[in-house]
Amino acid sequence: MARSLFLAIAALGLLAALGTVLARNLVRAALHLVAFFFCVACLFVMLEAEFLAAVQVLIYIGAVAILLMFGIMLTRNAATAEADLSGGWRVPGVIAGLCVFAALAFGINNAVSPSGSGAWSAIVARPALEPAEGVAWKAERSRAIDDMPRVVGEQFMTRYALAFELAGLLLTAALVGAVALAREEPAPGDSEPATAVEAEAAVGTTP
């Protein structure tokens, strides 16, 4: 049951990814991207990371995809004016992609983890998490699965406190810089006066 569900979601996800990459119309590509994000969120649920799935839906679909839509709409006449797949590069690009996939798949198939858990291909099921004597990580992980928001918060307040602060700084910097760049500029003679929509885009980059 779980396996067939996985196969269905994975197939949908890969089709959506292909659609994103191949669609000539950018709006359609963005909609495919939303579907792909959603399939990845479903995979997170199957991996028992429900909190991450919620974050994925909220941020990727709620913010990233909307922001991309804004970008597409604001550059609309340029985005839809021409066929955008580059002709000469099409065949080498596809071959490169296939080669990367073949190398990765071959590597994954033969990979042996040096940490002692054996070959990746031998791991057919997730480790059981019944508490056992002398294996602290099992209890730790089952707590992380059952109570993920709390454990994420604990981790960000202790072990990863610095990474958390740095992520805050990164978002501030991106916000300040993107607003400064996308703001309507007073310089005359530069193509066209910025429209109200563009001012709205500057606001749109802030969340």
Binding site: A103, L104, F106, G107, I108, N110, A111, V112, S113, P114, S115, G116, S117, W120, G134, V135, A136, W137, E140, E154, M157, T158, R159, Y160, A161, L162, A163, L166, A167, L169, L170, T172, A173, A174, V176, G177, A178, V179, A180, L181, R183, E185, A187
Partner: protein, 571 residues
């Protein structure tokens, strides 16, 4: 909070005081610019913003120097530290494990020395930024430069992959934005977009490689990864997943340090970005990326450098050696054809990345152990100082002529003789002519490359050194073109105006430092070597050599001592 959670030691924040000061000061500069400076006329506003930023850099520098003093004291005279700061704080500073924030970040003299270097370079770059008006968003511009520096400092100190990744992204995202800040020219926006596209593709590849490393090793800590890989008997032979991970990480770092074949963005971005931003990409970002690369490749992935003892065997040593050879040759040959000063500096910085990659390769096989990476650290310091000065020259041209052609320097020696001498010193140091510091940088890197045990690696690295010497000769041709323009040609059009102090001071300071470090290289070399050892072994200092034996339970009165692996005692 449940009882089994070890709380964060708030004293850890004292050890990153320079980064905290810079992060906060970015907001101060924006607020001051919005509130007060915006009413001034453009020139006064620029100088006011620059001065306000310099105050913050000065504060951060003071805290970094203070921490360096404390950490030097911890090594030499720990009891005095306890006497000075009391039991709690003094005992904390006297700790020798060198790790804070649960092992995700390094502290100690090595980090402090690099922080001082970043702040000195940043001060020069900020000063240079006040010399000409390229943007209206001054507060935002200076804030982004400060925040990029925060990212660089933490990137150079990171000991764990999640921290490394977020620090790397903070640095590069700030620099993408700063690159596009030159409002008056279209090429700046184009350079910003180009840098962004190349940069985010390479960081996506890097992240995928990182996820494979996490899957293979089961940990994100450099030291733990190194221990796991050393324990695995198979090495890299037949491990295509490990090889893919290595190559993907190499793409990520290759992009940041501008190694061939990931160098396409470099000339365009350096040419299009405002000169101070280009200077900061070429120096600060490169120094931080090389330090992080040394840590990841030598410390974490060191067991994979040449697992079967031969250089061309399954490992990264052969790949890095080939990349180094191609990078320095390509950079030097392409620089020969350049007429634009910033483009020439871009190709020369690619070539210098090649020399430093020789040092990275050497550090993994040198019989000297981790101290051999000191050669790369010394090279980085010298390279960064000389390059900041050279980009100040480019800023001078940009302010005065609006272009950065080398021909604009014609006849400079007649008009500003003392600055011309300074530029001569910088160029000679970049070529590697004794007695300037660039010579010793190359000398030490090449010496480390020759100091090898196994004979197979010795042959390959000897060839690499020979190629490096040949390349140094080639590089002389294009650096000398600058000197020829200054001394032998007459100005064809309007001659260049004399430099303002904002430009003259960075050029002169860089030239003086490069000369002093060249005449007396000893102290800095010793310092670099002592910096390199904790840089590449942090985490091993307090962990017993026998791996996988959990560390002893922390002593009750000092819970923060080994708090970075609180669960090991139970496991």
């Amino acid at each position: 909070m449940p009882p089994n959670v070890v709380p964060l030691d708030l004293r850890d924040f004292l050890c990153i005081a320079p980064a905290l000061v810079l992060a906060f000061w970015g907001l101060v500069v924006i607020a001051a610019d919005l509130g007060r400076f915006r009413r001034l006329d453009p020139d006064a506003r620029r100088v006011a913003c620059g001065r306000a930023t310099l105050v913050g850099v000065g504060l951060a520098l003071a805290s970094a120097v203070f921490l360096a003093w404390v950490d030097a004291l911890a090594q030499s005279d720990a009891p005095r530290l306890v006497a000075l700061f009391g039991d709690s704080l003094g005992g904390y500073f006297a700790r020798t494990d060198g790790l804070i924030f649960f092992g995700t970040l390094a502290r100690g003299l090595a980090v402090d020395v690099l922080n001082v270097l970043f702040l000195v370079l940043l001060a020069m770059v900020v000063w240079m930024s006040t010399s000409y008006g390229f943007t209206d968003d001054l507060g935002e511009y200076f804030a982004l430069m400060l925040w990029a520096t925060v990212g660089m400092m933490l990137l150079a100190a990171a000991e764990e992959l999640a921290t490394l990744f977020i620090a790397l992204e903070t640095t590069t995202i700030c620099l993408y934005l700063a690159t596009a800040f030159e409002r008056s020219r279209r090429r700046s926006a184009e350079a910003g977009l180009k840098y962004f596209v190349y940069g985010s593709v390479s960081s996506a590849l890097f992240l995928y490689g990182l996820s494979l490393v996490y899957g293979l090793a089961g940990s994100t800590y450099f030291d733990a990864i190194g221990r796991v890989l050393r324990g695995g008997d198979a090495g890299l032979a037949g491990n295509l997943a490990g090889a893919s991970a290595l190559l993907l990480l190499l793409v990520g770092f290759g992009f940041k340090v501008s190694a061939v074949p990931f160098q396409q963005w470099v000339p365009d971005v350096y040419e299009g970005a405002p000169a101070p931003v280009a200077a900061w990409i070429a120096t600060g970002s490169k120094v931080a990326s090389f330090v992080a690369m040394l840590k990841v490749f030598v410390h974490a992935l060191g067991p994979w450098s040449h697992p079967s003892g031969s250089v061309m065997g399954p490992g990264w040593l052969g790949v890095v050696a080939v990349v180094a050879a191609v990078t320095m040759t390509y950079g030097n040959l392409a620089a020969l054809a350049q007429k634009d000063l910033k483009r020439m500096l871009a190709y020369s910085s690619i070539a210098h990345a090649g020399y430093m990659l020789v040092g990275v390769a050497a550090a993994s096989v040198s019989t000297e152990g981790p101290a051999s990476a000191g050669a790369v650290v010394y090279y980085l310091i010298v390279y960064a100082l000389a390059n900041v000065g050279a980009f100040a020259v480019a800023a001078w041209l940009a302010r005065d002529k609006g272009t950065e052609a080398i021909a604009d320097l014609d006849g400079l020696a007649g008009r500003s003789p003392s600055l011309a001498v300074c530029i001569v010193v910088l160029m000679l140091s970049l070529i590697g002519v004794p007695p300037f510091a660039g010579f010793f940088g190359k000398l030490y890197v090449f010496m480390e490359a020759l100091r090898q045990g196994p004979s197979d690696t010795r042959i390959v690295l000897t060839w690499l050194v020979a190629l490096g010497l040949f390349n140094s000769v080639v590089s002389a041709f294009y650096y000398v073109r600058v000197l020829k323009a200054m001394y032998l040609r007459e100005p064809s059009g309007r001659p260049i105006e004399p430099a303002r102090p904002a430009l003259a001071l960075p050029i002169a300071a860089a030239a003086v430092l490069v000369t002093v470090l060249g005449v007396v290289p000893g102290p800095l070399v010793d310092l670099s070597r002592s910096v390199a050892v904790p840089m590449l072994t942090a985490g091993r200092l307090d962990v017993p050599a026998a791996v996988d034996v959990p560390a002893p339970a922390p002593p009750a009165e000092k819970p923060s001592g080994v708090a970075w692996h609180p669960e090991t005692p139970t496991d």
